[in-house]
């Protein structure tokens, strides 16, 4: 679960990390009223999960109520433009009206989990405001890292060493260890996957303030944090996740693409390999789908309908390795599911192997389906069917 800026900043505020004064507004009138009541120089920022708001013209200045009204209208009038990660863009449902800071310097600070070290890593760079990956490419030496011993947690010397290692401007040095500590507390308390302040601003009057906030929570830890339920409601899952949830598969287990070869496999690794096999065979994938273990008729039906109703699949390649899941059970599930479903029908390519493979194939054959022998063969056949459809 990724938080929007205003939510992240609310967590920052609670943790004692300095953030600019601001008001979250869901329409232009509220923004205008707020600015009318609080004269000054404000910046209006679209509240979306996608990056690249500035380039997309979704961050604008306002010094009067009229300006606040008009820029908010402008910002909310169109969704964020699409990118590869979000092919449909993202609608803008609210803005954050925020104090315009007199920024002298911008730095970067983030905490995430480091897989190789199996530890939380605190990362700091004196290049703030730009994408950290860009920094990593252009100024790799500017990034200072500390891998935190979870037995000990954060201690202020870490912040001092990082500020010095990243050669942060001297203006940061006094406040930084406390801010990094508060960020670590937040990271730890909420079981976050990522907390990021980018930019961490140094103002002309010497204050250190979190000018943006990015927080990625761990879905697996949300059961401990009922306080996020309300935010979860205003943070709708993306469309694929919503569809997956409705179909009763895990939200990570379904993802759509532009192609016409529908796929389904049991197990995430095999499902990814199935996509790759289709691609290897020259086809275009319609989706990723892990049906999971068990594969009851109901689950198979839900998955079938998910792909039929929501992708451009012209063929459906089902790739099952019977490990724990028995081949006969899966075969029965497929046969029953296809009988029950009201969804459109496309040609099926079924590959079924492993435990009870013979029994499974017999069941499919009795229902008029001829399974293929291997994953590669299935992929080739599916691609061929799709290209002729």
């Amino acid at each position: 679960m990724n938080l929007m800026e205003y939510q992240g900043k609310e967590l920052f505020r609670r943790a004692g990390i300095p953030v600019p004064r601001s008001q979250h507004c869901t329409n232009a009138e509220d923004a205008a009223t707020f600015v009318a009541e609080h004269p000054g120089n404000w910046v209006v920022k679209a509240q979306v999960l996608m990056g690249g708001r500035g380039k997309a013209g979704k961050i604008k200045f306002a010094s009067t109520a009229d300006e606040a009204r008009s820029v908010t209208r402008e910002i909310m009038a169109t969704p964020m433009p699409p990118n590869r990660q979000n092919p449909k863009g993202e609608p803008i449902r609210s803005v954050l009206v925020e104090e315009r800071l007199p920024i002298a310097k911008e730095a970067y600070c983030a905490i995430t989990v480091d897989r190789a070290h199996k530890r939380p890593v605190v990362m700091v760079s004196r290049f703030g405001g730009m994408d950290i990956e860009e920094v990593a490419e252009q100024h790799p030496e500017s990034i200072a890292k500390h891998f935190v011993d979870t037995a000990v947690g954060y201690s202020p010397f870490i912040g001092r060493e990082l500020a010095s290692g990243a050669e942060l401007d001297a203006g940061y040095r006094r406040a930084f260890p406390m801010i990094a500590g508060a960020l670590y507390e937040l990271f730890f308390k909420y079981g976050a996957r990522l907390v990021e302040i980018n930019p961490l601003a140094l103002t002309e009057d010497g204050k250190v303030i979190a000018s943006d906030a990015k927080v990625e929570l761990d879905d697996d830890a949300l059961f401990r944090h009922k306080e996020f339920e309300e935010w979860q409601r205003v943070l709708p899952l993306d469309e694929d996740e919503t569809l997956a949830a409705q179909a009763g598969v895990g939200i990570r287990n379904f993802r759509r693409f532009d192609g016409n070869v529908g796929t389904m496999a049991n197990g995430a690794g095999l499902a990814m390999a199935t996509m790759d096999a289709v691609s290897n065979a020259g086809g275009k994938i319609a989706n990723f789908l892990d049906v999971g273990g068990g594969a009851s008729a109901e689950r198979v039906r839900n998955c079938y309908e998910l792909v039929m109703n929501h992708t451009g699949a012209k063929v459906f390649f089902i790739n099952i390795f019977g490990g724990i899941t028995r081949g006969d059970e899966v075969a029965n599930g497929i046969v029953t599911a296809l009988k029950q479903t009201q969804a459109r029908k496309v040609p099926l390519v079924i590959r079924l192997t492993g435990t009870n493979e013979k029994e499974g194939r017999a069941i499919l054959a009795a229902a008029g389906m001829t399974p293929v022998e291997t994953m590669d063969e299935g992929a080739a056949k599916a691609v061929q069917i799709a290209s002729q459809a």
């Binding site: 590869r84 990660q85 989990v113 897989r115 190789a116 199996k118 530890r119 939380p120 994408d131 990956e133 490419e137 011993d149 979870t150 037995a151 730890f188 079981g191 996957r193 761990d218 879905d219 697996d220 830890a221 059961f223 401990r224 694929d240 895990g250 990570r252 287990n253 993802r255 693409f257 496999a265 049991n266 197990g267 995430a268 690794g269 095999l270 499902a271 990814m272 390999a273 996509m275 790759d276 096999a277 691609s279 290897n280 994938i285 990723f288 892990d290 390795f321 019977g322 490990g323 724990i324 192997t353 492993g354 435990t355 291997t374 994953m375 590669d376």
Partner: protein, 287 residues
């Protein structure tokens, strides 16, 4: 020899009276694994479905049975507790099958249980074919032999192993290290063990997108495993950035964690990378 597990390893099952724990206990016993008991708090003194003694705590189970291995089937919110309990009880190898363990739980457990090896969480377990299987792998696919295998996923492993077995290439030990971002035992940790295992004469690595574990493995192989044939396969080449595919750890962030980066890392140290799982036996035999 095989690594981590053999016919002499004494294993207890944490969560033995649960649905999953009970079912897989039966399968592990059927494979010949020395399952010596199980743990379910509050049910100490009872017998499990398969007639094994049930204990209230890991400590009691260890004291009574001499178990060194513990396989964990408890629900995600209790997995960390199960691992701490295993550590305190002196377990030397804990296999955590549980999926959905909060990443901070794993971080902290892994950082504070030195002396105990953890495999997983969110893994299918491990198997030394012909000797013992711990976890949920379908034993009949495997065959004893000389190929060591390490994988981040379950069914893909079975797919690959099936191909190996059909090609006559048996396995020494197959380790499912798990699909989570933080795991107790990484490729490199397993490679270290295989490097010292006389039974293992070739290696297969089943990787996937996300993180840089495969890159680290490649670097280690380049430095330490010059003589041994290694074949790798990476799934998820068609994954979009920023979205997890199935596994929490299978996520490409910008230019990090891509299949391309992993494939190049392996190729740079002479590891052959299969385009598809079915190529793996051929590439191994070609060495």
């Amino acid at each position: 020899m095989s690594i981590f597990l053999d016919q002499n390893s004494k294993v207890i099952v944490q969560g033995i009276t649960g649905r999953e724990g009970s079912y897989h206990t039966g399968r592990m016993l059927a494979y010949g694994t020395q399952i010596v008991g199980g743990v379910t708090p509050g049910k100490g003194g009872q017998k499990s479905e398969h007639g094994l003694p049930v204990f209230d705590s890991v400590k009691e189970a260890v004291d009574a049975t001499g178990a060194t291995h513990n396989v964990i089937f408890v629900p995600a919110p209790f997995a960390a507790d199960a691992l701490y309990e295993s550590h305190e009880a002196g377990i030397s190898l804990a296999i955590c099958i549980t999926e959905g363990v909060p990443v901070h739980d794993t971080l902290k457990v892994v950082g504070t249980t030195s002396g105990m090896r953890i495999i997983g969480p969110n893994c299918p377990g491990l198997i030394s074919p012909g000797k013992a299987s711990v976890g949920i792998m379908p034993g009949h696919v495997f065959k004893q032999g000389h190929v060591g295998l390490i994988s981040r996923s379950g069914t893909l492993t079975y797919e690959v192993v099936d191909g190996l077995t059909r090609a006559g290439l048996g396995q020494s030990t197959c380790v499912g290290i798990g699909g989570d971002p933080i795991i107790g035992t990484t490729y490199v940790d397993v490679l270290r063990e295989f490097a010292n295992d006389s039974q293992t004469k070739a290696l297969v690595i089943c990787g996937e997108i996300g993180g840089s574990d495969e890159e680290e493995a490649a670097a280690w192989i380049g430095e330490h495993l010059a003589g041994i044939p290694v074949v790798a396969f990476i799934s998820g080449r068609n994954a979009p950035p920023g979205k997890s595919l199935g596994h929490a750890g299978a996520i490409v962030s910008g230019s990090f964690g891509t299949a391309q980066s992993k494939i190049e890392a392996f190729q740079a140290v002479g590891v052959r990378v299969a385009e598809r799982p079915s190529e793996i036996p051929k590439l191994l035999l070609a060495h």
